[in-house]
């Protein structure tokens, strides 16, 4: 049994394996969980569980033994306490759009799905915060704020489906992070059920709370510090106006020079997204936006702010683009034209489907000025492996998303994708960057951790995790490599299949 101080655990519980396949302890656990959430909110038949065997990262699969849909913090606390009692691992799942296998239930166990906890608990405009349940879909918060003059700024490309709890766990970014920051910059406080079942509050609605910034530490924990059950998030004034442009360049080098020059001029665009030659071709084939097929790169540039400020910013941007040999600039003068420009960016992934049966989206980061080098390297890698790689990404942040195109029916190609991805990420590190800007380590990139951090760094991170999750019972074998016991984890990258776009 577990006591609430999260220390004493009497190991009367059977090992996990015995819990499976209708064993008496399994039946007992199911019964007790059912008492907590009701028959309608629990799944444990093998075929029903299949949907939950992976998230947006479909390379590895491992089904949970039980999937449960709580509707309150108290239910989650009770579920977690039972899991401790039965010595069963558990983990949280939001919308399951993770691209790094964050929702992979390694070793099975109980998956706690939060999509039924999706209420807005409070919106306070004067004090500029909203309190929401963790299963709330990101975009729904902004929709609920429409007309108030406020919105929720973090906007991952998956915002139409991903949840705020998932965003907090992964510290999500998006096209607008260049100006507005990532999720952690917008979280004021939260409530969480710790892995021992106790309920805690961190931070709060005020601008700051005394003591250590534990909610800041919590953001980006990838589900390993317990389950977020409530979030207090900052809401942001809508910009009065925006200007959107598409700049077409002959070469990637010119486009990346323009990126650095715009920012060096003191302009922080609200979005600065790049599409390379390969993706332009695909988009043009699919949607006929009128992009020149021989262009090396296209930049989507958006500035926002007060109406009175924008024309001057646009003038400067045009001048900079000119000095970087821009071939042509399309400006959106109406909301419809703006939408059309954004459509070319947002539908880029849809267009890839026409190019290849499968694709794999990577997520590396380099300092902005090293973009030409990493893009050159990606091109060289593409040649080396004789594999098409296209790029559409958050250029202003140096966050590249090379998309490797392949056919997952061909084992040899799969191997090549793995090797090419590895080389590209290595190169990101060599250029002073990181192997993930927004998708997280999860299980996908766990092997990179010991290349980025030394043993002391990892030990310190482990020490910190142990404060929240001393038994490693919550979201096992994620993020830190020390705990990746291979055979238990069953995480062997077999094949990188088609991954969700971004």
């Amino acid at each position: 049994m577990v006591d609430s101080s999260n220390q004493t655990i009497t190991q009367e519980a059977p090992p996990l394996d015995e819990l499976k396949t209708g064993s008496p302890p399994f039946t007992s656990l199911v019964q007790q969980l059912t008492q907590i959430v009701g028959q309608a909110n629990i799944l444990y038949n093998a075929d029903e569980l299949l949907v939950y065997e992976c998230d947006g990262y479909i390379v590895d699969k491992s089904a949970p033994d039980i999937v449960i849909f709580p509707i309150s913090t108290e239910q989650i606390s009770a579920i977690v306490k039972l899991c401790n009692q039965f010595n069963v691992p558990f983990l949280a799942r939001g919308a399951g759009t993770s691209l790094s296998g964050g929702c992979l239930p390694i070793g099975g166990g109980v998956m706690i799905v939060l999509t039924k906890m999706k209420q807005i608990l409070e919106i306070n405009l004067r004090d500029r915060y909203a309190i929401v349940e963790p299963g709330m879909v990101n975009l729904h918060l902004t929709n609920a704020l429409k007309g108030t003059g406020y919105h929720y700024a973090p906007d991952p490309s998956s915002q139409g489906s991903c949840t705020i709890g998932g965003n907090i766990a992964t510290n999500s970014g998006g096209p607008h992070t260049l100006k507005y920051g990532v999720t952690t910059n917008h979280v004021l406080g939260l409530e969480a059920v710790l892995p021992d079942g106790s309920i805690i509050e961190l931070g709060g609605p005020t601008a700051e709370t005394p003591g250590y910034d534990l909610h800041g530490l919590y953001v980006g924990n990838e589900g390993t510090f317990g389950i977020c059950t409530k979030a207090i998030v900052r809401i942001t004034r809508d910009p009065e106006s925006h200007r959107t442009m598409l700049a077409v360049f002959q070469t990637i080098a010119d486009a990346t020079r323009a990126i650095s020059a715009i920012i060096a001029a003191g302009i922080i665009p609200s979005a600065l997204e790049m599409m390379d030659h390969g993706i332009i071709q695909a988009v043009e084939e699919a949607f006929h936006f009128g992009f020149p097929l021989d262009a090396g790169a296209v930049l989507l540039i958006e500035v926002d702010g007060l109406e009175i400020a924008l024309d001057e910013e646009v003038r400067q941007i045009l001048e900079i683009c000119e000095s970087c040999n821009v071939r042509e600039i399309q400006r959106a003068d109406t909301p419809e034209e703006r939408q059309l420009i954004w459509k070319s960016r947002k539908q880029a992934f849809g267009a890839i489907g026409r190019l290849s049966p499968s694709y794999c989206t990577q997520d590396g980061v380099v300092p902005r000025t090293r973009l030409p080098e990493i893009l050159e390297f990606i091109e060289a890698t593409s040649k080396k492996y004789n594999m098409r790689i296209v790029n559409v990404f958050h250029a202003g942040d140096g966050n590249v998303h090379p998309i490797l195109l392949f056919d997952e029916r061909d084992q040899e190609q799969i191997q090549k994708v793995l090797e090419a991805s590895e080389e590209i990420l290595e190169k990101c590190l060599e250029l002073g960057g990181s192997v993930t800007g927004e998708h997280g380590i999860g299980v996908e990139k766990i092997n990179f951790m010991s290349r980025i951090f030394n043993e002391t760094d990892l030990d310190t991170m482990e020490t910190v995790r142990n404060i929240f999750n001393p038994r490693q019972i919550c979201s096992r074998d994620k993020v830190l490599p020390q705990h990746q016991a291979d055979e238990k984890a069953g995480v062997v990258q077999s094949h990188p299949a088609r991954r969700a776009p971004h």
Partner: protein, 416 residues
């Protein structure tokens, strides 16, 4: 406040991160002594109470630039770098760290991070936590660890920098940081408004939420604070009244347009007077606001963090107690300087009690920000246990198991 140490304090001045780490490892292994990291010593008496003995780790020589890729707008520096040094280096490139730091000619980056110092501009730019993208630090046992990196977007591993920001040097000595920088705006200006009634000032502050302008800072002061700020900045604030001061930054035409516009918008709140203060004078006034929060002539400085909508209630109560009040109003961060008449510990405790009545314990936090050294040990730093307190204690225990880093301070000052 000048530190007065009755205990015996040695000094250690490391010349490198490695040397510091070795020193701390050695210390942890043999008859460990208490360690107090210090930067500019602008707040030493608060965090290092008089009766302590141990070793001061002086960070002043760890002040180098490690890497400044200008066009990436990031910089990596050692934590002992003074804020004015940093400002000078990045300013030459048209960049800045948009954090207001009092006594920036002494305060160090490590100190700013350890205390989570911020000023008026936090309304639009956030705090230092929003700019630290990578951090290195050494824990009580001498382990040198890092998290983050040098790129602006990175989610590899846990964000240990958040844990260290505001940790008051109790978890680790911060040795090196990577920061995200911002472009320096072309100009700034301010508009001050004088209000007779708390109610009108409050209505004006509420209107910030829907203003057609986008202020970078919104400062409030009651008349007692206004007098001092006016004197300090040599400006003509009508100091017999409360003042709300709205600041704008950006291109000159945009700044000017906003300053005019807010005056229009706020007519309906019947200010007694208002004035636009431009560039140079505005900077002086702005600096006075930044410095005033740590002005150290008063026996005690309090800091209250409340919801902006609850702020005026607290301000009224404080004003009645003859406290000089300044606030980063749109964020609900209030500094109160107690009058000289609060001449004994009992007086101060009495005032604290009164003030506590004016705030709601769920959504407001009162802390002692600075006080006379001889009271430092008797006044609680936090007036109530913050949310997550037991986790905080565990964190402290895990990173500093021998309780060597500024420990008494952290442990004793909480009246849970």
């Amino acid at each position: 406040m000048s530190p007065t140490h009755s205990g015996s304090l040695e000094e250690f001045v490391p010349a490198s991160q490695t040397e510091l780490s070795r020193f701390m490892t050695d210390n942890a292994e043999a008859a460990p002594k208490q360690l107090f990291s210090v930067g500019g010593r602008t707040s030493l008496s608060v965090c290092c109470p008089a009766s302590q003995s141990g070793t001061l780790i002086c960070m002043s020589q760890l002040n180098r630039v490690i890497d400044y890729p200008v066009r990436d707008m990031t910089i990596t520096v050692e934590a002992g770098m003074r804020l004015d040094q940093l400002t000078e280096i990045v300013s030459a490139e048209g960049q800045r760290l948009p954090i207001d730091v009092p006594q920036s000619n002494r305060a160090t980056l490590g100190g700013v991070i350890a205390t989570n110092t911020c000023g008026p501009r936090r309304f639009s730019y956030g705090t230092i936590r929003d700019y630290v993208i990578g951090i290195s630090a050494i824990d009580g046992e001498g382990n040198l660890f890092k998290s983050g990196g040098r790129v602006v977007k990175n989610v590899a591993g846990y964000d240990l920098s958040k844990m260290l920001v505001g940790s008051l040097g109790t978890l680790a000595v911060i040795s090196q940081v990577s920061l995200n920088l911002r472009p320096k705006p072309e100009t700034m200006s301010m508009v001050w408004f004088a209000f007779e009634s708390f109610q009108n000032a409050d209505r004006a502050l509420e209107a910030i939420v829907t203003s057609g302008t986008r202020p970078t800072a919104v400062e409030y002061c009651n008349s007692k604070a206004a007098r001092q700020i006016a004197a300090e900045s040599r400006s003509e604030l009508p100091s017999e009244h409360q003042i709300v001061c709205v600041c704008y930054e950006g291109p000159a035409n945009v700044v000017n347009w906003q300053a005019e516009r807010i005056r229009e918008e706020w007519k309906e709140f019947s200010p007694l007077s208002s004035q636009i203060v431009e560039a140079e004078k505005a900077t002086r006034l702005y600096n006075a606001f930044t410095e005033y929060q740590t002005s150290s002539d008063d026996p005690v400085t309090l800091k209250a963090v409340v919801l902006p909508s609850q702020m005026m209630k607290f301000v009224e109560a404080a004003t009645e107690l003859n406290i000089a009040v300044q606030a980063h109003a749109a964020d609900g961060i209030v500094f109160g300087h107690l009058p000289d008449s609060a001449s004994s510990l009992e007086d101060v405790q009495q005032i604290l009690k009164q003030l506590q009545k004016a705030i709601s314990p769920q959504t407001a936090h009162l802390t002692i920000y600075q006080c006379e050294s001889e009271w430092a040990e008797s006044l609680p730093l936090f007036c109530a246990a913050p949310p997550g307190w037991s986790l905080m204690q565990q964190l402290k225990q895990a990173l500093d198991p021998q309780q060597l880093l500024n420990s008494q301070r952290f442990a004793e000052l909480v009246e849970a």
